[in-house]
Amino acid sequence: MLNRRHLLAGATGAAALSFPVFAFGQAHSTDKRLLVIILRGALDGLAALPPIGDPNYANLRGGLALQRADVLPLDSTFALHKSLPKLKAMYDARELIPIHAAATGYRDRSHFDGQNVLESGAATPFARNNGWLNAALGALPQSRPDMGVALSEQAPLVLRGAAHVATWSPSVLPDVSNDTVQRLLALYDARDPQLASVLHAAMGANAVAMDSGAGSMNNAGGGYRQIASLAQVAARFLKDPSGPIAAVMDMGGWDTHANQGAAQGALARNLGLLDDGVDAFRTEMGPAWANTAVIVVTEFGRTAAPNGAGGTDHGTAAAALLAGGALRGGRVLADWPGLSSAALYQNRDLKPTIDIRAVIKGVLADHMRVPNAALDSIVFPDSASIRPVQSLLRA
């Protein structure tokens, strides 16, 4: 039996696999692209984006403190974990804005509730059933059949709502043989035009996805190790001229309660996968990267000090990342609260000083051109007092 990749390339031919090259300087609003990566489980921001210049850092972090040799310095205070070399290269190319001490409005410590608030854009958990990204896409001209795509079996909350969105995911089920698909296409063409057109669309989407090597993800069972492959698929969809303008993907494995490691270990490996994922996306976007922004967010941070098991527990303020050729990068965005015990939130967590909604609103306003009135009401309900962060994008 042929695998999906062969089958789809053969079935749909070259037409579905060719993409126009975006011309510089001619960008209009629909040339802008957005990828949102949700890190589920609460990323330890003090490990990913260590404030090694903070006088209290080494003492507070104890066994989890990173040494100078373990980090890639950004400025006098902050550095990137050394497992993030590709993000560091983006920083040097002014395409990355690391963000620190940021949080949603949520102040408790449940993953479910925290992710719900992060994605719905509302102030409290389970306040609504749609997400901020769907609401933002709905506020733009509906220029294509699906405004967004989720690289998962079901659209996550952030992408759910009234605006049309698609999903694509590598399958847990085995491939369908090329021969069977051809026979079904003939049957559908004869009996059921609607099913025929949907099956053609599926093959088109699979052809877009497969061309990035995602065919090998079938039955791989590798969990979040697929992040780089999935990121390439996301880029393929975003480059498709009639495809979506925003994509969402998830990455798990951040809930590091035990033995998270410092320079090396479980967390370092996961950071490396994230680094590979964003870089694979950048490479696949090609020239369209210049019109692209990536938002990497997590539901909340972790305790500032290690716990008794070499890990960290659920905390409050977190780190986030903005990447992309469209950004005015090469700087850290932080109003650093410090790590002295008096500066910690509830004597245990990094204190939030940036509302992550202000950052997202800044990207949605200046990059995606979502109207301010929509941002303040339907995208992030009742958020007029949370002003968008200015000047995140290149002029």
Partner: protein, 491 residues
């Protein structure tokens, strides 16, 4: 004279498709076969009867919440507690995660298996489809963590007994079940002039330790928008506030968590766990949709819900949903009108109401108008293939891939009941993968896909499908084509 065409339509449109041999039995009187399953009481399927009671789910969840609170509470308090108990914080954390997975993922997985098995084996598939319909109408979803354990017992306690009974009884059972009270936050609702508001220590603690404050409109709003009148049902924000006030104090028994935690699991069902907490109830009369409710206590809410169920907007809303489900995405107005009249005249008798659906000529005149939802599609194949037993945890992954994990509807409005939601590229592709995998598992040299197709579809199998199945290179491919054929995917 036996009518095999009508039998196939009846079996797929009103049931989950026939098991082998069933079509002939239906063909003598297809309409009568459907109607014979609309009676108020049906025996509880064995797999469903074996599920744990709601109380067990609540106890397990309460225990988990307490542990979670230990883990995520104030750091200092937490350390003190851990030291006192001689347990490291880390150990407690791990225990919590394990406990959560064991208690709830496996619990819901078992319930999904029971639901699939009941639908796969039942001799009353019309009844079972109605259970699924009403369970979706009154959605309680595992997607909300606080309600994660409760949808199966909600379905068993609040939906099953009433699918052939009165709508108002189902509405009351739903609104009093801990599943709904938790899913739509009513257990957090405190009347602004209640004793519990004036003396906050009178408010009952939640399992997490805090006390709720303030009124919560969620259940009041959704009862009108999603359960009875529909979003255009003619109510205002003031009516939402009035119904929310009327329902304050509607909660479930949780007076003493410690006692509950140590109690043996009883056999009570969820509806019997309802409790009216007078201290949280907003005192005084309320005006809802122009009618004044001056009753004391729980009577006020019961009267208000019964009146909502009797309003013409409710009859129209329920009739529209039933006709959309059983006839067409765009329900024919004449059929809706007829069904709404039956609902109104019979005081919301769901047997009479469904008889009106079955007696609508439109229900028999729009073949293949509906595209099956993933779960009913999977059940169709299981029945067609005469599967007798399901391995543990079967189907959950495949249904998730096809976009419909049972008991996990994304919001309180339930799963969409129009083909647009399901006839999408990714979901249809996953169905083909499922069809092929299932076909490969079944295929043996002596299996005859054509006879399986005839037993399920009768004369409704198209010539094109028959030819495509006959020309397949193997029985497995023939079965895969049959299982992906339009007339199996639609009804």
């Amino acid at each position: 004279m036996p009518d095999m065409t009508a039998a196939a339509l009846a079996a797929h449109r009103f049931g989950f498709g026939p098991r082998p041999g069933e079509l002939r039995a239906i063909a003598d009187d297809p309409r009568g076969w459907v109607k014979s399953q609309l009676a108020p009481t049906q025996a509880l399927p064995a797999a469903i009867a074996a599920l744990p009671p709601a109380e067990d789910d609540l106890l397990a969840f309460g225990r988990w919440l307490v542990q979670r609170r230990l883990n995520n509470g104030n750091a200092q308090q937490l350390e003190q507690r851990a030291a006192r108990q001689g347990v490291s914080q880390q150990l407690q954390m791990l225990t919590t995660e394990q406990d959560f997975i064991q208690n709830f993922r496996q619990r819901v997985s078992n319930a999904v298996g029971a639901r699939l098995e009941a639908a796969m084996l039942t001799d009353a598939p019309v009844h079972e489809r109605l259970v699924h319909f009403w369970s979706n109408h009154f959605t309680v979803s595992t997607v909300k963590p606080a309600a994660i354990a409760l949808p199966p017992s909600f379905e068993k306690d609040a939906v099953r007994p009433h699918v052939g009974g009165r709508f108002a009884d189902m509405l009351l059972a739903s609104s009093k079940h801990p599943g709904m009270l938790i899913y739509l936050d009513n257990w957090l609702s405190i009347g602004p002039h209640s004793l519990a508001a004036r003396y906050p220590e009178r408010a009952r603690r939640l399992p997490g330790g805090q006390r709720p404050t303030g009124i919560n409109e969620n259940l009041g709003r959704e009862i009108m928008e999603l359960h009875t009148l529909g979003v255009h049902g003619g109510y205002t924000q003031a009516d939402v506030q009035a119904l929310a006030a009327i329902l304050t104090g509607w909660t479930y028994q949780r007076a003493n968590l410690r006692m509950l935690l140590n109690q043996d699991v009883g056999a009570r069902n969820g509806e019997q766990l309802f409790e009216f907490d007078a201290a949280a109830h907003e005192p005084g009369a309320q005006t809802l949709l122009g009618r004044t409710y001056a009753q004391d206590g729980v009577d006020q809410g019961e009267a208000a819900l019964r009146d909502l169920a009797a309003r013409p907007a409710c009859a129209h809303f329920i009739a529209t949903k039933l006709c959309r489900h059983y006839i067409d995405d765009q329900p024919p107005p004449a059929a809706v009108e007829r069904v709404a009249r039956a609902f109104a005249r019979s005081d919301g008798d769901l047997r009479v109401t469904m008889e009106a659906v079955v007696d609508s000529p439109e229900a028999w005149a729009t073949p293949f108008a509906k595209f099956k939802q993933p779960e009913e599609y999977a059940i169709t194949l299981l029945r067609a293939a005469n599967v007798q037993t399901l391995p543990p945890n079967a189907g959950v992954g495949a249904l998730m891939a096809m976009g419909q994990r049972p008991y996990a509807a994304p919001g309180p409005d339930g799963w969409a009941d129009i083909s647009d939601a399901w006839l999408t590229a990714d979901l249809v592709w996953k169905r083909l993968e499922f069809a092929q995998r299932f076909a490969e598992r079944l295929a043996r040299a002596d299996i005859d896909p054509i006879s399986i197709g005839e037993a399920s579809l009768g004369p409704r199998m198209s010539d094109e499908t028959r030819t495509a199945v006959q020309r397949a290179e193997s029985p497995a491919q023939g079965l895969a084509i049959l299982f992906a054929a339009p007339e199996i995917q639609r009804r």
